[in-house]
Amino acid sequence: MDEPLLQIRDLVVRYRRTGLFSAPPPPAVNAVSLALATGSTLGLVGESGSGKSSLLRAILRLVPVESGTIRLDGDDWLALPEQRLRERRRAIGVVAQNPFLSLSPRLTIAEILAEPMTAQGRVPAEELRLRAAEMLERCGLPGTFLSRRARELSGGQAQRVAIARALVLQPKLLILDEPTSALDISVQAQILNLLEDLKRELGLSMLFVTHNLKVVRHVSDTHVVMRGGRIIEAGSTEQISSAPAEEYTRQLMGYGRNPTGAEVASARRG
């Protein structure tokens, strides 16, 4: 079998102690290992304080790592020097939870979409616009949106722009950090469908971070549940949803309404 696109081994992230005499805090990420196969979607589930954000930030190299390794697309990711890292960052696209915060309020959509490309070197203005418009259309927005600004868009539209930005450099790995939890239900459905299409068309691998197990169950092939910095449950999505081993996972899953697809369909038929 091929090498996974992303392979994390025994990763430990610990933040600096707060005072000179205070004890070092417990690790935010504690000996986490996971693998994401090329072309698949890995769901990462956890609540606040579970360490999922720290793990993400470590993958993005925004926080220092205490020990462990990350292999990404053949690179020893944590050992890449700053200059090389800047080039290789194009292997990852990131979509954050709230598009209105993650898109600069001052720039037009065209400028926002151009930014990742110009960060990688000079690109002719004509090509910038062309590629931006193409990716925007792929994400379901007409090219006329290029001259708008983020605040003129609806939440769903802005999130489409954020996805287009993440994909404009054709990354292999798309990291989605709660991409739908700020959106309405009907918009969430649109975005999830869009992601599914993009994954198929572009052969993307996805790391899908969320606290919503139902969303994870829908989108991911495998998933891990994090709590207190550790992975407490990992496996294929079918396996975890049908027979969660941990009480905590059961709690997460047992919440709210749990109809099967068939029930809803029959209800709709009335």
Binding site: D184, I185, Q188, V215, H218, Y255, G256, P259, G261
Partner: protein, 317 residues
């Protein structure tokens, strides 16, 4: 008689010629001692309707209603005086609802002082009791704490305790669990359910989350574009929705279809708040829309369990 009885509520802002319709036609009926969900997506007018109940609308709002009653009183006249006595509010962000520089004890005491008229030492005992009633394990320690020393779930419990301290019997909870973790949110909902039973409270739960509705609401009202489109008992509503919008909303949930299948998304956009709506507000996006849907207001239908507004003839099967 229902505790809250609203018929044909409309709230407009802006100029008379080109008004912004925040709420167009909301009917809402809440039974005593129940938790009633007010469901809708952003822009449907659910929060504005809650604010109207609280009498918290800006002065520029123009409110009209066929009926707008709380416990038999016309709220259009007396809302201001009921807020803080009969009606309390729990907001989405408990951290913002508490003053960051005052201890919890002081903030509880301030509420009790203005509502109970008890002497100081008794107020303290009542505060402790209320915090304990909201499931806080160590009320004494909480009273001495500042808000930032408490977790989000504990803060929300304090806010609920404050709502109880006002002596209110009707609580409007606006997305009270959205800012919390799922498991913590579930605990807060369980707490509200318990309080409703123990203290004969009535709760209006404003939410966009069907899981929250399923978890705690006895009945619910679905809003779309400022209209009430469907209302009924929760189990009926979730299992056998009658209005096409409710059906579409439920079908759009990620667990509504088998894995790998496409989710049913609702095409199009909600109507602009400036738009004039002649027929059914959902008609432009409705899969089963007929010509009449765009021209005439849909009739109210009732099958005994719940009611909805739609031109489609109900078919039993």
């Amino acid at each position: 008689m229902s505790l809250v009885e609203i018929k044909g509520l409309a709230i407009r802002f802006g100029s008379l010629h080109n008004p912004i319709h925040a709420v167009r036609h909301v009917d809402l009926s809440i039974e005593r001692g129940t938790i009633h969900g007010l469901i809708g997506e952003s822009g449907c007018g659910k929060t504005i309707s809650g604010m109207a109940l609280l009498g918290l609308l800006p002065q520029s709002a123009r409110v009209s209603a066929d009926a707008f009653r709380f416990d038999g009183l016309n709220l259009l006249d007396v809302a201001k005086s009921l807020r803080g006595r009969r009606i309390a509010m729990i907001s989405q962000d408990p951290a913002a609802a508490l003053n960051p520089v005052l201890r919890i004890g002081r903030q509880m005491d301030d509420v009790l002082k203005s509502h109970s008229g008890l002497p100081r030492f008794q107020r303290r005992a009542v505060a402790e009791e209320l915090l304990a009633a909201t499931g806080l394990a160590d009320p004494r320690r909480v009273l001495k704490s500042y808000p930032h020393q408490l977790s989000g779930g504990m803060q929300q419990r304090v806010v609920i305790a404050q709502a109880l301290a006002t002596g209110a019997d009707f609580i409007i909870a606006d997305e009270p669990t959205t800012a919390l973790d799922v498991t913590v949110g579930a605990q807060v909902l369980a707490l509200l359910k318990r309080l409703v039973q123990e203290r004969a409270l009535t709760v209006l739960m404003i939410t966009h989350d069907m899981d929250v509705v399923a978890e705690c609401c006895d009945s619910a009202t679905v809003l779309y574009a400022g209209h009430t489109v469907e209302a009924g008992r929760t189990d009926e509503l979730l299992a056998a929705p009658r209005h096409p919008y409710t059906q579409a909303l439920l079908a759009a949930l990620p667990d509504a279809v088998a894995k790998g299948e496409r989710l049913a998304s609702i095409e199009g956009h909600i109507p602009s708040p400036f738009a004039v709506i002649e027929g059914c507000p959902f008609a432009p996006r409705c899969a089963s829309a007929m010509a009449v849907c765009r021209q005439a207001k849909p009739p109210e239908r009732d099958d005994g369990n719940h009611c909805w507004t739609c031109h489609l003839e109900p078919h039993h099967g």
